[in-house]
């Protein structure tokens, strides 16, 4: 028992929950100000660090960003010090440089033309990290600041606040059919295909690719990786694949739909259920018209809500089936002991916002979004994810990535899984929007 109690301050999972809820409670209590993020820019790179209102510069973001860096360094170093996994001084030196590198990744991603391509901060952070680690090598002091697990799990707990259960009814039964029936089938199909037919040795990579393909790309990949305790290289591969295919699908799916003359709403539901990231779904949907843009985005949003369930079931499956002692059946205590606790933090944050905060604001989600989510928890979550991707890049090397390719099996898994996803989603979308509920939209 003493072991399980001490895990409250010795375990990274619990620290992720503490950090996440400190930020959430701070936001709800009004203690936290608007959190700064690197701004958008078009022609002048310096614009990213200026506060511009109606074309007039009213301030700069350098000082707020420095304060954020110091604040995050202090907050996370408390956990690092108590866990005694690293010397605080060493961690701080590494953290500060990783934060600056993350600012650079954000700065690149926030250029308007780059945003049109759908290339997010996750990709740039990974590339910058990989460039350093695979050429000059990541020095030990910098690695000390790369607390990937802690950053990912804290980001996921905060992500829970953005996942609201009320969203699942936004498009009625047809939306639920496309987003919630197809997705679990595709995850299970892809995992079984990877294990039985491709005989992939790396179960972690298989579940990451399956989750990214069927749920919502990078965010689902992160959740599945953390829930299955995957290696950083597995997440790098899964995220890399999903980023490339997302751009390709965003470019070609709307053109194909227009070319064959498919109904716009059907096409929108199809893209919403299959293109991995939400931004790319909105862009592709917009090609088909304003109504299609709305339907595509909302189908994707309903699918996004599945992240919490995905993380929970992946974690449970890993604890009870994959990582268990084959000679004995794990009891409830054993499952609890090994279950990744940050998943509970994620679900707790989601339940808190879905059933307490939003109803307390008389169901006015926009108010919750503008008061707590957009200016505070979402910005913190993005920072933690960006720091995590930078840390992953800094700790990954191409040799290990190549070894994990198993002769191209992960790529085959992605292509076969995505093809299955495309066919099944199209069939269910047709059934839902054209046959069973033709007057839904």
């Amino acid at each position: 028992m003493s072991n399980s109690i001490s895990s409250l301050w010795k375990d990274e999972d619990w620290w992720a929950i503490w950090f996440g809820f400190i930020i959430i409670i701070g936001a709800l209590a009004g203690f936290l100000p608007k959190i700064p993020k690197v701004g958008k820019w078009s022609d002048n790179p310096i614009d990213a660090f200026l506060v511009i209102k109606d074309g007039v510069t009213t301030g700069n973001l350098i000082v707020p960003l420095l304060l954020l860096m110091v604040g995050l360094a202090i907050l996370t170093s408390v956990g690092v010090a108590v866990m005694k996994k690293e010397k605080v001084g060493k961690y701080l030196a590494g953290f500060l440089v990783i934060f600056i590198l993350s600012c650079i990744a954000y700065w690149v991603a926030n250029q308007t033309n780059i945003k049109y391509w759908g290339l997010s901060y996750a990709m740039w952070a990974l590339l910058i990290g990989l460039l350093i680690s695979n050429t000059i090598g990541t020095p030990g002091w910098l690695k000390a600041g790369a607390k990937t697990e802690l950053f990912i799990k804290t980001g996921l707990v905060l992500l829970g606040a953005e996942i609201l259960f009320s969203k699942i009814v936004s498009l009625g039964i047809p939306g639920l059919m496309v987003a919630w029936i197809v997705t679990p089938i595709v995850v299970i199909f892809m995992y079984i295909f990877a294990m039985r037919y491709l005989k992939m040795k790396n179960k972690h990579l298989a579940i990451i690719i399956a989750s990214a393909t069927s749920v919502c790309g990078v965010s689902a990949a992160i959740a599945a990786a953390a829930a299955s305790c995957a290696k950083k290289e597995d997440l790098t591969l899964g995220v890399g694949m999903t980023l490339i295919f997302t751009v390709l699908m965003m470019f070609f799916m709307p053109l194909f739909i227009q070319f064959i003359g498919m109904n716009d709403i059907l096409g929108a539901a199809w893209m919403g259920g299959t293109i991995d990231s939400t931004g790319a779904v909105v862009a592709a949907g917009s090609m088909l018209g304003p109504d299609a843009e709305k339907v595509a985005a909302v189908v994707k949003m309903i699918q996004n809500v599945l992240i919490g369930f995905l993380a929970f079931f992946v974690a449970l499956y890993w604890v009870t089936c994959v990582d268990r002692d084959p000679n004995c059946k794990p009891n409830a205590m054993e499952i609890w002991y090994r279950f990744p606790k940050f998943v509970l933090g994620f679900l707790g944050a989601s339940l808190l916002f879905s059933f307490v905060v939003v109803p307390a604001m008389h169901g006015n989600f926009e108010l919750v979004e503008n008061k707590y989510l957009n200016p505070i928890t979402e910005v913190f979550r993005s920072w933690f994810f960006c720091l995590a991707f930078m840390a992953i890049g800094l700790e990954s090397n191409f040799k290990e990535l190549a070894e994990r390719m198993e002769g191209g099996k992960p790529m085959i898994l992605y292509v076969v899984g995505q093809t299955f996803n495309l066919i099944l989603t199209l069939f269910v979308a047709w059934l839902a929007f054209m046959v069973l509920f033709p007057n839904a939209i």
Partner: protein, 87 residues
């Protein structure tokens, strides 16, 4: 030997940096592939559509899109009711 290896690593780093910088300049330049391949990109540029959000809460106009769907559903319901009345 170690000195040579260090120099090679730095050379690799600088080459990588040039490549990465080139990629950033390419994507930031506003170039779009000719023909159908660049159609979505040109549409994004024309209507200022950010295609980079990873999750729905990062989409700037998500509330508008959601409200739009609710409006579409109401319109569809009214349309269906009118049609059934006609029949």
């Amino acid at each position: 030997m170690a000195e040579t290896k260090r120099k090679i690593n730095w050379l690799k780093f600088i080459s990588g940096l040039v490549l990465l910088g080139g990629a950033i300049l390419f994507f930031a330049s506003g170039y779009s592939p000719p023909g159908v391949c660049g159609e979505v990109l040109r549409h994004n540029q024309a209507y200022d559509i950010d295609a980079s959000p990873l999750i729905y809460s990062e989409v700037e106009n998500m509330a508008e899109l959601e409200a739009g769907v609710q409006k579409l559903r109401i319109e569809a319901r009214i349309r269906a009711e009118l049609e059934s009345e006609k029949q």
